[in-house]
């Protein structure tokens, strides 16, 4: 690989580093603000706070409404993750691995939901549920999540598939392996990082979805919709605590597996 001389490259390394760190700060600033606000004992938000407290966190754990919505969101996210990952794995092979008639069209069709305004998608799916006489519940919400996130995680896995050396698969076939064996012993292990990342993304995107849930959850209140209710209609002091907890939880679910994987790779 050709490395450019510092002077010729036309950038200063520390400057770029400072810029990236500033952007990270800008993107994570709300987390900081929520976390700090969650310890305020005041009924109305004003900084600096008159007193600090942990009571909103205690209240959060004792609230039945929160427990129910957490459970609804968790069940939905888990129920979505499994089928979405399977479909995305197969779909990614069709996307990146094989050349077939209709592939060009398939690639574009698959990308469409990513570009869609979620609210319109949610409303359209509500019309479908109404048309088919189906009552909205966590199941319809889950289906709508899946349609929206399936293309995203198919992309994630497809990026992995592009880097996949197909000759290993062919070698396995030449050595007499069956289709199932090749899948189990070659294809799946090689693509595993992409599949795990895809599954993680599927879980988190369903867990944090608001726009689709709002229209399709019916009576099963999802956590993001519950929090939205707490945020609007005046300031509720539990809202920052709940939001901060959700923010940190998502961060943990995303970072811990990557941290574990890199640790495993290094040892």
């Amino acid at each position: 690989m050709v490395t450019l001389k510092k002077k010729r490259a036309g950038y200063k390394k520390p400057l770029v580093a400072v810029y990236i760190l500033t952007v990270i700060f800008f993107l994570q600033a709300p987390a900081l603000s929520l976390l700090v606000s969650s310890f305020s004992a005041d009924k109305y938000f004003r900084f600096p706070f008159s007193e600090l407290t942990m009571k909103w966190y205690v209240e959060m754990f004792n609230s039945g409404g929160i427990r129910d919505s957490v459970l609804n969101s968790l069940v939905t996210a888990l129920a979505v993750t499994v089928p979405a990952t399977v479909l995305a794995f197969l779909g990614a092979l069709a996307f990146a691995r094989y050349k077939w008639r209709g592939r060009f069209l398939y690639q574009r069709f698959l990308l469409l939901p990513i570009f869609f305004p979620q609210m319109v998608l949610g409303l359209a799916q509500l019309l479908l549920a109404n048309f088919m006489g189906v009552n909205t519940s966590w199941i319809t919400a889950g289906i709508s999540h899946m349609v929206w996130l399936l293309p995203i995680i198919t992309m994630v896995i497809a990026i992995q598939v592009y880097g996949f050396d197909v000759t290993i698969e062919e070698a396995a076939y030449d050595l007499g392996a069956s289709t199932a064996q090749v899948l189990r012993e070659v294809t799946l292990p090689v693509l595993m990082p992409g599949i795990v990342t895809g599954a993680l993304f599927a879980f988190l995107l369903s867990w944090s979805n608001f726009d689709l849930s709002l229209f399709l959850q019916g009576v099963d209140n999802m956590l993001p919709v519950y929090i939205y209710g707490k945020m609007t209609g005046g300031f509720s002091p539990t809202a920052p605590a709940l939001s901060a907890a959700v923010y940190l939880l998502s961060a943990a679910v995303l970072f811990i597996p990557f941290w574990l994987i890199t640790r495993m790779e290094n040892s």
């Binding site: 800008f26 993107l27 709300p30 094989y98 570009f115 869609f116 409303l123 990026i159 197909v166």
Partner: protein, 302 residues
């Protein structure tokens, strides 16, 4: 040979089980079916509803263009133009901010690419309402920012919310990761030797950017801009929460028609207008993008 090209070509059908003649279609079929039923069908319904008489809930036989006339007659086009303005400004600002960041990730600190990507894309996995709520606590009167500016004489008790620039800031904040990641993929297609050659031939930084880097990463830039434009065109919450009521967005009109007015056909017609523009833009732009090359660039780097 380029790896992304030999990928799909080198497959030999003789090695596969004979039952599956067309493995691509076979593997893609579940996804195609799922998207047809739960994505395409709802869209057909929304198109059908948009031609119904106003205020009906069941599909009837009489079709009408009345709802589309309302778009022009009742001033909905003006909120559409506001949304378009917000989308253009957001796209431009997001690109300007995301490009140097993506450049740093790919060309300056490739070692830390994965961790930087996680840190920068992570907010996507937290409900946007929660994050916007975090911003309101920073920006409102008596919030964190006005506490900081309070030390400056004449800058006490400032309200940073409810103005036009703060809406743009909020939208840039929300859609930044959607620009960043495609641009990262695009920049991974930029060949360092081409940059080296341009520098050897006397190109300055601006010329390298304009003549080498942008053309070589054009596919990623195009996808990023398209994604941000289309998503911000259909956005609502940023303008509502951060902007108060100073701007009504088109998405808000759609939501309003469905919920408060209970006028599904009108809401459908407005949705169809939004979708026609969205889908049209995507399909035209995607004709010029080699997706295999764009998504395969990362594999090429190893």
């Amino acid at each position: 040979m380029k790896p992304y090209e030999n990928q799909s070509q080198s497959i030999k059908y003789k090695n596969l089980p004979k039952k599956i003649k067309n493995p691509g279609l076979f593997l893609g079929l579940p996804t195609i079916l799922a998207l047809t039923i739960f994505f395409l069908l709802p869209l057909c319904l929304i198109v059908l509803y948009s031609f119904q008489e106003p205020n009906v809930f069941e599909l009837g036989k009489d079709l009408t263009l009345l709802n589309y006339k309302d778009f022009l007659g009742q001033g909905y086009y003006s909120t559409f133009l506001w949304s378009a303005l917000l989308a253009v400004l957001t796209t431009a600002a997001t690109f300007v901010l995301a490009y140097p960041c993506a450049y740093g990730m790919v060309k300056v600190f490739p070692k830390y690419n994965m961790w930087l990507t996680l840190l920068l894309v992570m907010p996507i996995f937290v409900t946007s309402n929660i994050r916007i709520f975090g911003w309101t606590l920073i920006l409102l009167k008596g919030g964190f920012l006005s506490f900081l500016t309070g030390w400056i004489p004449g800058f006490q008790e400032i309200e940073f919310l409810y103005n036009f620039p703060v809406i743009i800031m909020g939208m840039v904040y929300i859609y930044f990761p959607f620009m960043l990641f495609p641009v990262v993929l695009g920049l991974e297609m930029v060949d360092d030797t081409a940059v080296e050659a341009a520098v050897d031939l006397g190109a300055n930084r601006w010329q390298v950017f304009k003549e080498v880097e942008v053309p070589m990463s054009a596919a990623g830039i195009l996808i990023g801009c398209l994604l941000v434009f289309v998503l911000s065109l259909g956005s609502m919450v940023e303008a509502q929460v951060l902007g108060g009521s100073i701007v009504t967005t088109f998405a808000e009109d759609i939501h309003h028609a469905f919920s408060y007015q209970q006028n599904w056909p009108l809401g459908s017609a407005l949705s169809v207008i939004l979708l026609t523009i969205t889908v049209g833009l995507i399909l035209v732009a995607l004709r010029y993008v080699n997706l295999d090359k764009l998504l395969g660039a990362r594999a090429k780097l190893g």
